[in-house]
C-alpha cells in the first residue's frame, strides 16, 4: 500500500531485475510486460517447486490414512495452514478456512450466515465492490429477505464514510467491503467503518483479494472479524484462497455445506460437526494448492517489503505522471499516491477498453480492459469499462514507459 505520509524506505535495497529472474514465466515470454497483476500474479519458482515437490513426494488424501504418505500429506496441509495463520497474524491456525478463493470464501460466509439472519436484518456493502462481494449477498437477500445497504463513493471512487452513521443501523449484522478496490486501487479507511459496525454488534468482513499480495497482514490490529483472500493474486496457485475469521465467530457459524471430513459423528438423521477448521471444509480440500499458497506466503514474508513498497510507489508515481501528461486520458479513481495500491484504471476518450487493450497486447503488454466485475462501480463513473494496469514487484520503469508509449500509439491508430 502506498501512503506518502509514511517514511520513504530505501528503494536501492530492492532489485526488481533479480526478483524477476525468480519468475519462470518471464523466461518463457521474454518480451512480456505483465501489468495484469490485479487479475492474477505470476508464480515464483519456489511456489512452482513446492507444488511440484508435493505432487512428486507427498500426494495422498489427508486426515484419514494411517500410512506414511497420508501422514506426510496431512502434515503438509497443516503446515500450510500454520504458515497462512502467520501471514495473517491469526491467533490460531484453526481460524484459517481454506476455500477455492476469495469468491469461495465470501460465498461460504454468506451461506453460513443464512441460518442466523431474519427478514429485515441488514448487510452493508459499498458501491465499489467486486461482484464477488455483491452477488453472494444478493443471493442471500433473495433467500432470507435481508436488506442490502450501500455506502456511497466520493467523486474519485473512495468509499464515502460521511453517511456511515445513517447506513449502519441497529439491524445491521455485517459490514462487507473491499480492503482495496480492484478498479481504482483506493484503500478503504477502516477505522470509522469498524467502529460503526461494532457499535451495533455487526461483524466486519474485508475482501482482501487485492491487498493480500502486498505482504503479511495483522487482522487483529486491523480490528476486522473476517478476511477473504485468493492465492492466485498473491503469487500462489489458482484454485486456493481462504476465509479467516475470529474463532468465536467462526464457531457460531452453521456449516452450510456437508460432506466427508467435517463431522464428529453421523447418523441417518443428523450429524455433529467437527471442530474448526474441518467443520467448514467438507470434502477433500485443495491440498496441493494450499501447499503452494503457503510457499507464496513464506516467500512474501522473506521479502524486504518496505523496499518493495517503495519500488511500487515509484512506478505508480511514474505512471500517474505519464498518464496526466497525455491529453484525453481520464484517470478513474484517486489521481494521487495517498492510500492506494499500485493499480490504475483509465478511460481514453473515444477508445473502447478492449481496443486499447488489443493495441497493448500487440506490443506484448498485458493489461485488463472491461468492467472488472464491478458493474455498479462502472455505472457510478458513467462508463462501460476501463483499461487497468496493475503492477507487481517484478515490474520496472521500462514496463511503465512501454505502456505510456503504447497509449500514444493507440491514440494515433484508434482516434
Amino acid at each position: 500500500m502506498i501512503d506518502m505520509q509514511m517514511t520513504k524506505p530505501d528503494a536501492t535495497a530492492f532489485n526488481p531485475a533479480e526478483v524477476k529472474k525468480q519468475f519462470p514465466i518471464f523466461s518463457s515470454h521474454p518480451q512480456l510486460r505483465y501489468l495484469d497483476n490485479a487479475a492474477t500474479t505470476q508464480c515464483p519458482m519456489t511456489v512452482i517447486q513446492a507444488v511440484d515437490q508435493h505432487e512428486h513426494q507427498s500426494r495422498a488424501n489427508i486426515s484419514r490414512g494411517i500410512y506414511p504418505l497420508a501422514e506426510m500429506a496431512t502434515e503438509a496441509y497443516d503446515r500450510a495452514r500454520n504458515t497462512l495463520a502467520r501471514y495473517l497474524g491469526a491467533q490460531d491456525a484453526s481460524e484459517i478456512i481454506f476455500t477455492s478463493g476469495t469468491t469461495g470464501a465470501i460465498n461460504l460466509l454468506a451461506n453460513a450466515y443464512a441460518a442466523d439472519l431474519k427478514e429485515g436484518d441488514e448487510i452493508l456493502l459499498s458501491l465499489a465492490e467486486h461482484h464477488s462481494n455483491l452477488l453472494p449477498w444478493q443471493i442471500l437477500s433473495r433467500r432470507t429477505g435481508i436488506k442490502l445497504r450501500f455506502l456511497p463513493l466520493t467523486a474519485d471512487g473512495r468509499i464515502d464514510m460521511r453517511s456511515l452513521n445513517k447506513q449502519v443501523t441497529e439491524r445491521c449484522r455485517l459490514v462487507a467491503v473491499t480492503h482495496a478496490s480492484n478498479v481504482t486501487g483506493a484503500v478503504t479507511e477502516l477505522g470509522p467503518l469498524i467502529d460503526a459496525a461494532h457499535s451495533v454488534n455487526a461483524a466486519v468482513l474485508l475482501d482482501g483479494a487485492q491487498m493480500a499480495q502486498h505482504g503479511p497482514l495483522d487482522v487483529n490490529a486491523l480490528g476486522v472479524d473476517f478476511y477473504a483472500l485468493s492465492g492466485h493474486k498473491m503469487f500462489g496457485p489458482t484454485g486456493i484462497g481462504l476465509l479467516w475469521g475470529r474463532q468465536d465467530l467462526l464457531k457460531k457459524l452453521t456449516p452450510p455445506f456437508g460432506g466427508g471430513g467435517m463431522v464428529h459423528r453421523v447418523t441417518i438423521d443428523s450429524f455433529e460437526p467437527a471442530d474448526l477448521p474441518a467443520r467448514l471444509e467438507p470434502g477433500t480440500p485443495p491440498i496441493t494448492q494450499a501447499v503452494g499458497l503457503a510457499a507464496a506466503a513464506a516467500w512474501l514474508m522473506d521479502l524486504n517489503l518496505n523496499a518493495v513498497e517503495s519500488h511500487l510507489n515509484h512506478l505508480t508515481g511514474r505512471l500517474l505522471d505519464g498518464l496526466n501528461s497525455i491529453p484525453g486520458i481520464k484517470l478513474i479513481g484517486p489521481d494521487d499516491l495517498y492510500q492506494r495500491l499500485s493499480l490504475i484504471s483509465l478511460d481514453l476518450a473515444k477508445v473502447h477498453p478492449h481496443d486499447l487493450s488489443q493495441i497493448f497486447a500487440d506490443r506484448g503488454i498485458a493489461v485488463r480492459g472491461g468492467h472488472h466485475c464491478a458493474e455498479p462501480l462502472m455505472k457510478f463513473f458513467g462508463l462501460m469499462g476501463t483499461t487497468r494496469a496493475s503492477l507487481a514487484l517484478y515490474n520496472d520503469e521500462t514496463d511503465i514507459d512501454a505502456l505510456l508509449l503504447a497509449i500514444e500509439e493507440a491514440q494515433r491508430i484508434l482516434i
Binding site: H352, P353, H354, D355, Q358, G369, G370, H371, E375, M378, M384, G385, I413, L414
Partner: protein
C-alpha cells in the same frame, strides 16, 4: 477500423418488426438490432445501436451494409460462416458473405470472438422473434 467508423446502418427504425438487445457479459458491450422483413422472408430494413469495441462496431456496420435485401435463410448462413472463420480460420464459402473475410485476423484471438459475433447473435435472435 474503417468499417467500424462507417457505422453503416447505425440508428433506429420507426416501426421495427423485431428488436433485440444483447450484452456481452465479459466486457459490458451492448448491441441493439432492429429489423423488418417482408412476407417473402427478405430482410427489408435494419438498424443498430452499438456500445462496444471496434470489432463489435465493425460487425454491426457490415450487417448494416450487407444484410438488407437478403433472404433470412441466407443471413442464418452468415453467422455460421463467421463462426467457422473465427474458430477454424476457414474463409467464407457463400458468395454473399465474402466480406466477412475482413475478420480473419481475429482468428486465434479467442477472447475477441464474442466481440465480433455479438451483432450477428442479436440479429439472429431478432429474426427468430
Amino acid at each position: 477500423m474503417a468499417l467500424a467508423r462507417d457505422a453503416t446502418g447505425s440508428g433506429q427504425l420507426q416501426h421495427p418488426r423485431a428488436r433485440v438487445q444483447l450484452d456481452n457479459p465479459l466486457c459490458g458491450d451492448r448491441v441493439i438490432i432492429e429489423v423488418t422483413w417482408n412476407d417473402s422472408g427478405i430482410l427489408t430494413e435494419l438498424a443498430h445501436e452499438v456500445q462496444g469495441c471496434a470489432l463489435c462496431r465493425a460487425t454491426a456496420s457490415l450487417i448494416g451494409r450487407d444484410t438488407p435485401g437478403k433472404q433470412l435463410t441466407e443471413i442464418a448462413i452468415a453467422q455460421t460462416e463467421l463462426e467457422r472463420l473465427l474458430k477454424e480460420g476457414e474463409e467464407p464459402t457463400h458468395h454473399h458473405w465474402q466480406g466477412l473475410s475482413v475478420f480473419k485476423p481475429v482468428h486465434g484471438h479467442k477472447s475477441r470472438y464474442e466481440c465480433v459475433l455479438l451483432p450477428f447473435k442479436a440479429l439472429t435472435q431478432a429474426l427468430e422473434v
